[in-house]
C-alpha cells in the first residue's frame, strides 16, 4: 500500500524554483529519507506534503488524500516534527503532550493511555512534570517526537530531527524512532543531511539537489550504483609524472582523482588493488606515506550525485534572524 504518492510536484517562489518536478512514492511502513545539501528543497518538499505550503503544480497524495483539496484529512493522518524546536518551553512535558492531543480532539482516556506509552517510549516518564525549558536539546526533541504521535498518526514527518544534537542524543533519537515504528503501524518520512543517519535509519533514500530528484533507492543499492565498492585514499612522496595513469591501470580500479600527491581510488576489489598499489609504488620508487581503505559510504554516493560545489546563495532574511525577538530557553 502506498502511503505517500508525489507526482511531478513543483514549488516556485517568484522566479526561483525550489522544487522542480519531483515524483516518488513511499510504501506504508517504510522509513523514507530525503537526503540533500542545505537549500536542496527538502524542507519545501516536506512543507508541501504537510499542507504548510501549497504546491505550484503537480499532485501529492498523503494517506490517499490530496494535500491541496483534502488538507484537513491529510492533517488528521500525519504527525509533524518541524525543523525548529517548537515545543512550548514554559509548559511541562506532560502539558505539551496533552495540549497537542486536544488540538486533534483525542478523547481523555486515550490521551492518558497514549501519553503514558509515549513518555515511556521516549524515556521521559520521570521528567513529565518538568518545564521543557529545563531539558536538554535531545530531550526536547524527544518531547516533540512524543507530541507528534499523540493522535496516533499513520505517517510521521520529521524535518532534520537531529540537527544540533550531540552524537549520543542523535543515536538515542534514531533508536527511539526505530522502536516506536516497530510498535506502531507507522510510515516515516525524514529529511536529513547526515549521511550516517540516513544510512542507519532509512529503508530507502531519495537524494535531492537543486530541487530535483537525483537518485532514489535503498542505501545498499545506492552505494552499489556508484563506481567502486571500496575507496582507497593514499598519499605518496615524489611519485613519477604519469603516476595517475599507472594507478588507473591497477586491477579493480574504476576511477582515480588526485591532488597534491594525494589520490582517491575507487575500486571494485579493495584487497587486490591495495596489493597491486604497494607493488607499483615500490617499482616506481614512490614512497607510500599513508594508505587508507574504506567501503563506499553514503558520503561517496552523496558527493557522486550532488557534486562538491558549495551551495552559496543569497537568501531572504528570516524573521528568526531579528535581534528584537524575545529569546526564550
Amino acid at each position: 500500500m502506498i502511503a505517500i504518492d508525489v507526482r511531478n510536484i513543483v514549488k516556485q517562489f517568484g522566479k526561483f524554483v525550489a522544487v522542480n518536478g519531483i515524483s516518488f512514492t513511499v510504501e506504508a511502513g517504510e522509513i523514507f529519507g530525503l537526503l540533500g545539501p542545505n537549500g536542496a528543497g527538502k524542507s519545501t518538499l516536506i512543507r508541501m506534503l504537510t499542507t504548510l505550503l501549497p504546491p505550484t503544480s503537480g499532485t501529492a497524495l498523503v494517506n490517499g488524500f490530496d494535500v491541496l483539496k483534502q488538507s484537513d484529512d491529510v492533517r488528521r493522518a500525519i504527525g509533524v516534527i518541524p525543523q525548529a524546536m517548537t515545543s512550548d518551553l514554559e509548559l511541562s512535558v506532560e502539558e505539551n503532550l496533552v495540549i497537542y492531543a486536544k488540538l486533534y480532539s483525542v478523547p481523555r482516556e486515550k490521551r492518558i493511555r497514549l501519553m503514558k506509552e509515549l513518555l515511556a517510549a521516549v524515556e521521559l516518564t520521570e521528567w513529565k512534570d518538568k518545564q521543557v525549558k529545563n531539558l536538554s536539546g535531545g530531550m526536547r526533541r524527544r518531547v516533540e517526537i512524543a507530541r507528534g504521535l499523540m493522535h496516533e498518526p499513520r505517517i510521521f514527518f520529521l524535518d532534520e530531527p537531529t540537527t544540533g544534537l550531540d552524537p549520543v542524543s542523535r543515536v538515542a533519537v534514531w533508536e527511539m524512532l526505530k522502536r516506536i515504528k516497530a510498535q506502531r503501524d507507522l510510515t516515516i518520512l525524514i529529511t536529513t543531511h547526515y549521511m550516517d543517519e540516513a544510512d542507519k535509519l532509512c529503508d530507502r533514500i531519495a537524494i535531492v539537489d537543486h530541487g530535483e530528484l537525483k537518485a532514489l533507492d535503498s542505501p545498499l543499492k545506492l552505494k552499489a550504483s556508484i563506481p567502486g565498492k571500496n575507496v582507497l585514499e593514499a598519499s605518496f612522496g615524489s611519485p613519477p609524472a604519469d603516476w595517475e595513469r599507472t594507478l588507473v591501470a591497477l586491477p579493480g580500479v574504476e576511477g582515480v582523482t588526485g591532488k597534491d600527491n594525494v589520490y582517491r581510488i575507487n575500486s571494485t576489489n579493495g584487497p587486490a588493488t591495495t596489493l597491486a598499489l604497494m607493488e607499483a609504488a615500490e617499482r616506481a620508487g614512490a614512497q607510500v606515506q599513508s594508505l587508507g581503505v574504506q567501503s563506499t559510504s553514503l558520503d561517496d554516493v552523496f558527493v557522486h550525485y550532488t557534486g562538491r560545489a558549495l551551495r552559496d546563495a543569497l537568501q531572504e532574511p528570516s524573521a528568526q534572524d531579528s535581534p528584537f525577538m524575545i529569546r526564550r530557553g
Binding site: 504537510t50 504548510l52 518541524p82 525548529a84 528568526q320 531579528s322 525577538m325 524575545i326
Partner: protein, 371 residues
C-alpha cells in the same frame, strides 16, 4: 582606541542597515508632538447644555437669546431644550449632556420685582475642564444679562447664577484612572498578546498549529480569548489598586465591581481583536515593538482619558470616533466617577462589541492557513 572605534563602527553600520528602526524611532516623537500638542489646552467647544425653561416672561427669553449667542459665536456649548427637568437631570447623570441650565417659573417676575432672581446651572463636575468651562461661560452669560441693554429700555434684574455640582469633588487622579485601566489592558494585549504572538510565529511555533486540523476561526478565537483573559487579569488588578490609590468612593460595591468587570472583559476582547487584526500578516518581531509607542499615543490621548475631546481639533475628534479607547474610557468614567448603571454605557458596550466582531472577522479572513 581602535577597539572602541570598532564597537562604534559596528553599531552605526547595523543601525544604518535597519531602516524600519530608523523610521519608527523618528516617527514616534513626531506623532507624540502632534497628538500631545493638540490633546492639551485646546478651547473646549460644543458642550451639551440642557435648557429647562419654566418661565415664559421676556427676561427668560433674553437669557435664552444670550445662550443662543454663545452657541452661534464662541460655540462653547450647544443647547438642548427640555420640557421636564427630571429627564434633563437623568440625561446629565447618564453623561448625555454636560450641564442643565434651569430658569425657574418665577424668574421673570423676580427680575421685574428686583427680588433676587436666580438661574441654576447643574453640571457634571467629573471633568473639571468641562465644568470650569461651562460654569465660566454661563457666568459670563448671566453677567451679560445684568448689563444695561443699549437698545431696549429695561431695568436689569441683577440675576444670580447658582452653580450646583452633581457629584462630589473629583480630583485629577480619579479623572485619570479610567484611562489608566484601559492602558493596563492595552499593555497586556500588546506584550502578552501581540509581541509573544509574533515571536512565536518567527520562531516557527505556529507551524505546530498549522499542521493540525484546527480551523482558522478556532485558532483566532483561541488566541483572542486567551489574550482577553490575560488582559482582564491586568485590568482588574489596576482597577482595584487604582481605585484605592485614587480614593474612589465605595470601591468595593459589589454591583459596581460587577459592571466594571463586564466593561473590562469587553474592552480586553475589543483591544485583543484589534491587535490580532493588525498583527495577522506580520512576521517581523520588530514591528509590534516599533508600533507599540505610536499606537499607544494614537489611541490613548484622543480618547478623552487626559483631556476632554471637546477641546480637540476636528482630525483628532475623527480619530476619537473610531478609537475603541474612547468608548472604554467613557464607560469606566461613568461607572467609577458617576456610579451609573448599564443604561449610561450601553452605547459604549455596543460599539466595543461591534468593533470586536468586525476586527475578529477581518483577522480570520486575512489569516493565512499556510506559511
Amino acid at each position: 582606541m581602535q577597539r572602541t572605534w570598532a564597537i562604534i563602527e559596528r553599531e552605526l553600520r547595523r543601525f544604518r542597515r535597519s531602516p524600519m528602526l530608523i523610521v519608527m524611532s523618528m516617527i514616534f516623537p513626531v506623532v507624540q508632538l502632534v497628538v500631545l500638542g493638540y490633546a492639551f489646552g485646546g478651547n473646549v467647544k460644543h458642550l451639551k447644555l440642557g435648557v429647562v425653561n419654566q418661565d415664559s416672561g421676556v427676561p427668560s427669553v433674553r437669557v435664552r437669546e444670550l445662550a443662543g449667542a454663545v452657541t452661534a459665536g464662541a460655540r462653547t456649548f450647544d443647547t438642548i431644550e427640555y420640557g421636564d427637568e427630571g429627564v434633563a437631570l437623568q440625561d446629565l447623570r447618564d453623561g448625555r449632556i454636560n450641564g442643565v441650565l434651569t430658569i425657574p417659573p418665577d424668574f421673570s417676575r423676580r427680575v421685574l420685582a428686583h427680588n433676587q432672581p436666580k438661574i441654576a446651572l447643574i453640571e457634571d463636575n467629573t471633568d473639571s475642564f468641562v465644568s470650569a468651562s461651562l460654569a465660566g461661560t454661563v457666568a459670563g452669560l448671566v453677567g451679560a444679562f445684568n448689563m444695561p441693554d443699549a437698545t431696549t429700555v429695561r431695568v436689569t434684574g441683577e440675576a444670580k447664577l447658582d452653580v450646583v455640582e452633581v457629584y462630589p469633588y473629583v480630583p485629577y487622579v480619579q479623572y485619570l484612572l479610567p484611562g489608566s485601566i484601559v492602558m493596563s489592558i492595552f499593555m497586556m494585549v500588546m506584550i502578552g498578546g501581540g509581541i509573544i504572538f509574533i515571536d512565536d510565529k518567527a520562531r516557527g511555533l505556529h507551524e505546530g498549529y498549522l499542521v493540525t486540523p484546527i480551523k482558522k476561526f478556532e485558532l483566532i478565537a483561541g488566541f483572542n480569548i486567551s489574550g482577553t483573559i490575560k488582559a482582564v487579569l491586568s485590568g482588574s488588578v489596576l482597577m482595584i489598586i487604582g481605585s484605592l490609590i485614587a480614593g474612589i468612593p465605595d470601591p468595593f460595591s459589589a454591583l459596581r465591581l460587577l459592571r466594571l468587570f463586564v466593561v473590562i472583559v469587553i474592552t480586553a476582547f475589543a483591544l485583543i481583536s484589534m491587535m490580532f487584526l493588525i498583527m495577522v500578516r506580520v512576521t517581523d518581531p520588530l514591528l509590534p515593538r516599533a508600533i507599540f509607542g505610536v499606537l499607544n499615543t494614537l489611541l490613548y490621548f484622543p480618547s478623552g482619558a487626559v483631556y476632554p475631546q471637546q477641546g480637540f481639533p476636528p482630525w483628532m475628534q475623527a480619530i476619537a470616533v473610531v478609537d475603541p479607547f474612547t468608548y472604554s474610557v467613557h464607560a469606566f468614567k461613568c461607572l467609577l466617577l458617576k456610579n451609573t448603571g448599564f443604561g449610561a454605557i450601553s452605547g459604549d458596550l455596543l460599539y466595543l462589541l461591534v468593533f470586536s466582531a468586525v476586527a475578529m472577522s477581518a483577522a480570520t479572513l486575512l489569516f493565512r492557513r499556510t506559511l
